[in-house]
């Protein structure tokens, strides 16, 4: 076939690209931000009460069952960084619990991948 052709790129350990100039808006430092992923699962440890701020009460109400940070952001119509900031406060006061996602490791875990395939086969 004719038409444009792509050229392969090499993995770059010291990735340097101009868009790195963009940063996520917010006041969190890197350590706090990296603690919460889009798919960190969150569960409330308390019932919402009138003493909470509306955003916090809404999160506690949503998270009576496990919910990802991405879903909380979507249901509240708030940007990810705003939600992670709210969640950090709730975590600090132990009103919620969080479970970090399983991320790709240098050596992928075969049993995890097998569990994913088993689940997909049932779809």
């Amino acid at each position: 076939m004719s038409g444009p052709r792509r050229e392969r790129r090499k993995a770059d350990p010291d990735l340097h690209d101009p868009e790195r100039l963009y940063v996520i808006t917010g006041d969190l430092d890197d350590s706090e931000r990296s603690a919460l992923d889009l798919v960190t699962m969150v569960v409330a440890q308390a019932e919402p009460s009138p003493t909470f701020q509306p955003e916090q009460a809404a999160i506690l109400r949503l998270c009576q069952a496990p919910l990802s940070v991405a879903e909380i952001s979507a249901y509240l119509s708030l940007p990810f960084s705003v939600v992670t900031s709210l969640l950090s406060d709730l975590l600090a006061t132990e009103l919620i619990e969080s479970r970090a996602p399983i991320v790709r490791a240098t050596l992928p875990d075969r049993s995890l991948l097998e569990a994913v395939m088993h689940g997909l086969q049932k779809l």
Partner: protein, 204 residues
């Protein structure tokens, strides 16, 4: 902050509420150029109606001609659609895909690095719209498979010709799919998982 009263927040529908045992999540990112069917694929396999999350990226003004000495900032909102598949009572798979603005997703901390892998969805009528995302995945060492979304009026090319045009190594799997169909999109995800499995080193 403009925030609606918490009474008006709509949470998950009762059938979408996860069991309390759902504690482990993994994610896969679906990439490709504008209009290749990423959101369609997310929607076809998701157990929930796809949702949207967003983030605001800001750029400090750099090299702006007329504003010497004035600090300027440009804000860009990056939206991302996602869906969910409960793989078991404990394990949940999240799928992320979005229309447009793809160069910005790579700034979303951990989105790709934390993902198990990626699906590059391509449209044979406009292969070049996927060149940039493929290059970025290669640079970051994110494993991916290429799914050829079969549009009715798209020319059919042999996989090997597409592989050459995309300059893909032989080991990167390529698969035809119809992103509208759940079974077809599921097969694409299976292809990715088998590929990741083949990359995994068995424990001694």
């Amino acid at each position: 902050m403009d925030f609606r009263s918490s009474d008006t927040i709509t949470g998950p529908r009762s059938e979408d509420v996860l069991p309390t045992t759902a504690t482990a999540a993994v994610k896969v990112v679906i990439v490709g150029g504008f209009g290749v069917g990423k959101t369609t694929m997310v929607g076809s396999v998701s157990e929930i109606r796809p949702l949207t999350t967003e983030e605001t990226m800001t750029q400090a003004g750099v090299g702006v001609d007329d504003n010497a000495g004035v600090e300027t900032k440009t804000a860009t909102t990056v939206a991302m659609d996602f869906g969910r598949i409960s793989l078991s009572e404990e394990l949940i798979l999240y799928l992320f895909g979005t229309p447009g603005q793809e160069r910005f997703w790579f700034l979303w901390n951990g989105l790709f690095e934390g993902a198990l892998g990626a699906v590059v969805l391509i449209d044979t009528r406009r292969l070049e719209v996927s060149f940039d995302v493929i290059g970025r995945l290669e640079e970051r060492g994110v494993p991916f498979v290429v799914a050829v979304n079969t549009f009715p009026d798209a020319p059919h090319h042999p996989v090997e010709a597409l592989r050459r045009a995309l300059d893909l190594p032989d080991e990167v799997p390529m698969i035809d799919c119809d992103a509208r169909l759940r079974a077809s999109s599921r097969d694409v995800l299976m292809t990715l998982m088998r590929y990741l499995h083949s990359l995994a080193v068995p424990l001694a």
